[in-house]
Symmetry: C2
Subunit: 204 residues, 2 copies
Amino acid sequence: MVGLRERKKLETRRALSWAAIRLVVERGIAGVRVEDVAEEAGVSERTFRNYFATLADAVADRHLERSLQIADELRRRPAGEPLWEALRRAVETRFGLGAADSAPDPVWVAGVRAMVTEPGLHGAMQKTAATAAETLAAAVADRTGTDPERDLYPKLVAAAVGAAVGAATEHWLRADPPVPMGPLLVEALDRLSSGLPEPSEEDA
Amino acid sequence: MVGLRERKKLETRRALSWAAIRLVVERGIAGVRVEDVAEEAGVSERTFRNYFATLADAVADRHLERSLQIADELRRRPAGEPLWEALRRAVETRFGLGAADSAPDPVWVAGVRAMVTEPGLHGAMQKTAATAAETLAAAVADRTGTDPERDLYPKLVAAAVGAAVGAATEHWLRADPPVPMGPLLVEALDRLSSGLPEPSEEDA
DNA sequence: CGCATTTTTGCCGATCCGGCAGAATCTTCG
DNA sequence: CGAAGATTCTGCCGGATCGGCAAAAATGCG
């Protein structure tokens, strides 16, 4: 039972985050004040601060929400499925933007590009990655019967997956001509689960 | 030929960073103002800002310097050595604190603990990791004859190694009773280079 | 020593940041 | 429905951050 309150809160949060993304894409982070974002979202500056500590956090929030869904999706995969298979599917489902058939939301793509490009956003992005990794580690631990507190394994897997997604994203943004995201993700994860052997020859 | 100028500049930088670490360990990040750090290091607050954008950056700077050395060390490894062997040695050399024989610097350990513990430092730490990963990726690319711009491989490896070091560090800090860092690092990297297979049974 | 270059510093306005308390809004319960 | 209770929004405010600017100090060089 989600009351009106919860819903409005989430609405405000998303409105603020989207406003922050739009404005930062438009003017660059240096040209955006917290006040501007608050106004764009129709709340006071003080309210902005009730939701986010910094402008960068607001920008990164949409990315965080997406990232956290990987763990959700992993838990949703059938129990019998091998871990890396499940991880690949989970990541593909939640991050496989830019498929050949459906064009991704241009605002979102511009937003991601800004997040990767603007140095002022890197901190928040990395913090996002860390949070997502922790959540994913818990899901991996549950699936593999390990303990995040005692075993190195789940956090290692989570961090490695995060690294793979990050590397794939960066590569995807740079790609010219554009390539679909899905295959890049699959390639990165497959390499990971094969132990990252040195590429034998030119595999351009 | 490094002039007096260069040397003094580096000295000031390190003095500021160490001062920041000491004070943050002592009072927590919330209890430290930039002004305090500047005073402790014997320079003006404005000068602090010539070196670091934020207090957190100053704290993380020693860690950054260490992290960048992994790439140096990798380049120093013999060319014939397999990549993962070289990576393991490089990481072990630069990060293998807490060996059974020599106790690590307590101030440094407390500093690392603070960096991992204090949420206010996470952003700077992650930024550090990202910078180090980029540098390491370049070294990996050189060694494997790949191109960081075109190939996914070097960044993927660098990010994965960073993840392994991070997971090992976190685990090391939590370990009670304390365990030496070296073996943890080796374990993490070996698992990586074996494709992170699911742990078969209880391997407590 | 005297000049060129680089670094340090004080000054200052814009902005950030978060505690506080009252107003506004939603929720629960009689 | 209406009042009490809980939560959120907002204005106010002072301390701290942040970075541009130009004068002063330190360093390097001929």
